[in-house]
Point group: D2
Chain length 260, copies 4
C-alpha cells in the first residue's frame, strides 16, 4: 500500500496549550461564545449555522429527546440496574435501539424526498409513484404512520411550522406534503406524516446529508436517556419493568407441566 495517501482529518488539532476545532480556537472562540447547538452543527457540518438553522436543529433535537418508556429507555434502565458501574454502558445500550425501525426512519423518509425532488417528471408524479410502489410491495413507508399518534402525529405540523417561520425555501417540505396527499389517495385512508418524516424534510431543507440524519436522533436521545438514568437512580423502576416483562411472556415448553 505504498501509494496510499495518508488519511486526513479536518476536525481537530491541538498543541500543548491550544485546541482547535474546525480551525477555531476552542478556548478563545468557542467555549462561552457559542451554544451546544451551534457547536454541534459546526462540528458535524464544518460551518457555523445561520440563526434559522439553529432554530430548526433545536426543534429537531427537542422533538426527539424523549418519548416515555420506549425500548431505548427500557434497555438503558435495565442495563443500569444490572451494571451500575457504567453510566455510559447504560446509555449506549439504549442508543443501540436508535435504528431502522423507529427513529432511523428519518433516513428512509429523506431518501424518498430526495427521490421526488430529483424526479424528471416532477414531484407530484413521483409522489404518486412512491405511494403506489410501497402499497403494491406492502413495505412500510418511512416517515408515515404511528402506532400511538392517530389519526395525526401532533409534532409534525409544529416542526414544519418552525422551519417555515425560520424562512427555509420549503421545497423539501412541499415534496413531503405532496407525498402525504398521494399516500392518502393511493391507500384510500389517511396515514399521518409522523415526526421523523417532518424531521427528514426540515433537515433536508438545511442540507444535512441523509447518512448522518440518524445521528441527530442519537445525540438528543443520549440526553433523553441520561434523564432516565437520573430518575432510575433516584426512583428505580427497572425491577418492576423486569417483572412485568417476565410475566408478559409465557413459556410455551413443557418443562413446568412435568415439574410437580
Amino acid at each position: 500500500m505504498a501509494d496510499q495517501r495518508k488519511p486526513t482529518t479536518a476536525i481537530c488539532a491541538y498543541t500543548s496549550d491550544a485546541i482547535y476545532v474546525r480551525d477555531k480556537s476552542l478556548v478563545d472562540e468557542l467555549i462561552g461564545e457559542i451554544t451546544f447547538t451551534q457547536m454541534m452543527f459546526f462540528q458535524i457540518m464544518g460551518r457555523m449555522p445561520s440563526p434559522a438553522e439553529v432554530k430548526i436543529v433545536d426543534a429537531v433535537l427537542v422533538t426527539l429527546m424523549e418519548h416515555g418508556i420506549t425500548p431505548s429507555a427500557i434497555a438503558t434502565r435495565l442495563t443500569l440496574m444490572s451494571a451500575p458501574e457504567s453510566l455510559q454502558g447504560a446509555v449506549a445500550a439504549g442508543l443501540l435501539g436508535v435504528g431502522g425501525q423507529f427513529l432511523g426512519t428519518m433516513q428512509g423518509a429523506a431518501e424518498l424526498i430526495a427521490e421526488m425532488m430529483a424526479a424528471e417528471d416532477g414531484v407530484p408524479a413521483a409522489a404518486e409513484r412512491i405511494a403506489r410502489r410501497h402499497r403494491a410491495s406492502k413495505t412500510a413507508l418511512p416517515g408515515f404512520g404511528h402506532n400511538l399518534h392517530r389519526p395525526d402525529d401532533p409534532r409534525t405540523p409544529k416542526i414544519l411550522a418552525v422551519a417555515t417561520a425560520a424562512g427555509v425555501q420549503g421545497k423539501h417540505i412541499a415534496a413531503l406534503l405532496a407525498l402525504g396527499e398521494a399516500v392518502d389517495r393511493v391507500y384510500e385512508r389517511h396515514i399521518t406524516i409522523n415526526a421523523t418524516g417532518a424531521i427528514a424534510a426540515v433537515l433536508s431543507e438545511i442540507g444535512i446529508p441523509v447518512e448522518v440524519m440518524r445521528g441527530f436522533a442519537v445525540i438528543t436521545r443520549a440526553a433523553g436517556l441520561v434523564g432516565h438514568v437520573k430518575e432510575e437512580l433516584e426512583n428505580p423502576a427497572a425491577r418492576g419493568i423486569w417483572d412485568a416483562a417476565t410475566h408478559a411472556v409465557e413459556y410455551s415448553g413443557n418443562a413446568l407441566k412435568n415439574h410437580a
Copy 2:
C-alpha cells in the same frame, strides 16, 4: 412482591394527540420554544434552567465535544468501517469509552469538591488532606494533570471564567482552586487542574448531581462522534488507522520465526 409499589416516572406521558415532558406540552411549549440545552437540562433536572445555568451547561458541552483522534473517535471510525449498516453502533462503540479514566474523572473530581465543602475543619485543611492522601497512596487525582496539555490545561481558566461571569456563587470553584494550591505544595511541583476538574466545579455550582455528570460528557461526545462519522463517510481514515495500529504492536511470539 404483593406489597411493592408500582414504579413511577415523572418524565413523560402521552395520549394519542399530545406528548408531555415534565408536564409541559412538547408541541405547544417546547418544540420551537426552547433550545436543546434548555430541553436537556429540563429533561434531566426536572426544572427549566436559568440563563446562567444555560451559559454554564453550554460551556461544558462545547468543551467536551471534541478532542481529535481520541480512543472514542478511533473506536467509532473502526466500527463504522466494519459495520456501516449501523451508525448508532459506531457511535455507541465510541461512547463506551467515556469512562472512568478520561472524561469520567469529572465524577471523582466532584466527589473531592464535595468532600472539601463538607469538611468540618474547612476547605483549606481538607484540600491539604486530600492532596496528602493521594500523594501517599500514589492514586491519580481526578481532575488534575493532563498528558497533552502541560503545564496548564488551557480550557480550565475559560470554563471557570464563564461560570464566574454567569454569576455563580463560586464556593465549589474556590474549593477546586484551593485543592489546586494544596496539590502544587504537597507534590512540590505544578499539576494543572484539567478541564474535567473545572467542569466538576461548575456543574457542582449549579446543582448537577455527581452521579449524572458523566452523562454530560456522553451527550456532547455523541455529537462529536457524529462529526467523526460524517468525516469518515466522506474521507475514510479507518483503514489507515487500522494499519498504523497493526504496525504499532509487535508480535512477541515465535511463530513467524519458524515461518520460512
Copy 3:
C-alpha cells in the same frame, strides 16, 4: 516518548498464507482439531487446558448461558425490534448488562475467596470476619443470595460436584463453603451460595484471574442472547414486552389530569 517500548502481543500473527494463534497454526493445529472450549481457554490463558479444566469451563459456560427473560434478554429483544439491521448491536445491548449487579458478582466472590486463602489466621477466621464485615456494613455479599432460587440455588452443588469429580485440589471450594457456614451463623439465617459464588470458586481452582472471570459470563451469555435473537425473529415478543413495561410504570406527573 522516545524511551517507550513498542507494545507487544503474544496472541496472534499472520502471513499471507498462515495464521498463528499463541504460536500454533490455526489451520494445521487448531481448526478441526480442538473444541471451542479448548480454543477459548487457549486464547485467553495462553496454554491448552487439561481435560479437567475443559470439564469445569464447560460447566461454567453451560450454567451461565441462559436464564429466561432477563434484563439482558429484554435489552437484546427490544434493540433487535428497533434496529433489526444490526444483530451485533442487539447482542451488545444485552451484554452491557453483564455487570456488577448480577453475573459480575463472580468477581467480588472470587476476591473474597482470595482474601480468605491469603489470611494469616486461616480460612475459618477470615470467613467469620468477612461475614461480620458485610453484615455490619449492610453491603451485599457477592456470590450469596438469589432473588428467585430460595432457599437454595440448585446450580451450586452441581457446579461444585463437577469440579470435584474433575479432580481439582478443592481449597477454593472449601473456602467458599466455609464462608457459607459463617454467613449462616453470622446472619442467623440461611443464605444460599449462588451460582456465581460457585463459579468464582471453581474458576479460581483452575487459575482464572479474577479480572477476567466476568468475561466467561460475557462469552456464554452472547450465545444465550443469539438464541433470543433467533426466537425473536421467528416469534416476536418485543412489542408485548414493551407494552407490559409501559403499563408497569405509572406517570406521576400532572399532565394527563389536565388533558381532557
Copy 4:
C-alpha cells in the same frame, strides 16, 4: 390490542428450585453433561446437535475467534483503557464491529448459496449469473477475496475438509465451489473463497438459518476479545495504538499553521 396473543418463549423456564432450558433440566441434564458447543447449538436451534454438527460448529468457532489487531480488538483495547470499570463495555465495543463489512459477509455468502440451490436452471447457471451480476455492478462478492490472505485464504480448504470428513451431504459446499469457478472465469483472475464463504457453506449444510449466522461470529469473537482484555490488562498496548492512530491521521486544516 385486546385480541393480541400473549407472546411466548420456548427457551427457558424456572421455579425456585429448578431451571429448564429447552425443556431439559439445567442442573440434572446439562451442567457437567454437555459441552459449550452442544449447549450453544441446543440454545439456538432448539435441538441437540449430532456429533458431525458439533465438529462443524467447533471448526467455525475456532476459525473466527481471533485474527490479531483487528478493528474489533482495537476498539476493545482502547475502550478498556478509557473505561476499565466495564469489561463488558470493552467487549461490547469490539463486538459492534462484527458487522456487514468483514465477519458479517457470511450472511451475504449464505444468501448466494441459497440462491444457487433454489435456481430452476441449476447451480452452474446460477453461479455464472451471480458472478456476472456482481462483476457488472461492481459490488463486492460476499465470501470472496481477502485483503491479507492472497492468493488463497488458507482457512477455506480446512473448514470444508472438516465438514466433508464429518459426513455432510455437501450440496451447499458444491454450490460454493461452483461459484468459485464461475468467479475465476468471469473475473478473468483468481479470487479466493475466503473463510466467511466457507463458513456460510458449512453452516448452511447443517441448517443454520442465514439470519443468525453472524451470531456465531459474535459469540466466538467475544471469546477472542476477552483474550485481548486479559493481555491488555497484563501488557497494555492501547496507549501505543492510540499514539500510532493519532500520528497516522494528518490534520488538513489551517489552525496549526497559524499557531506560532
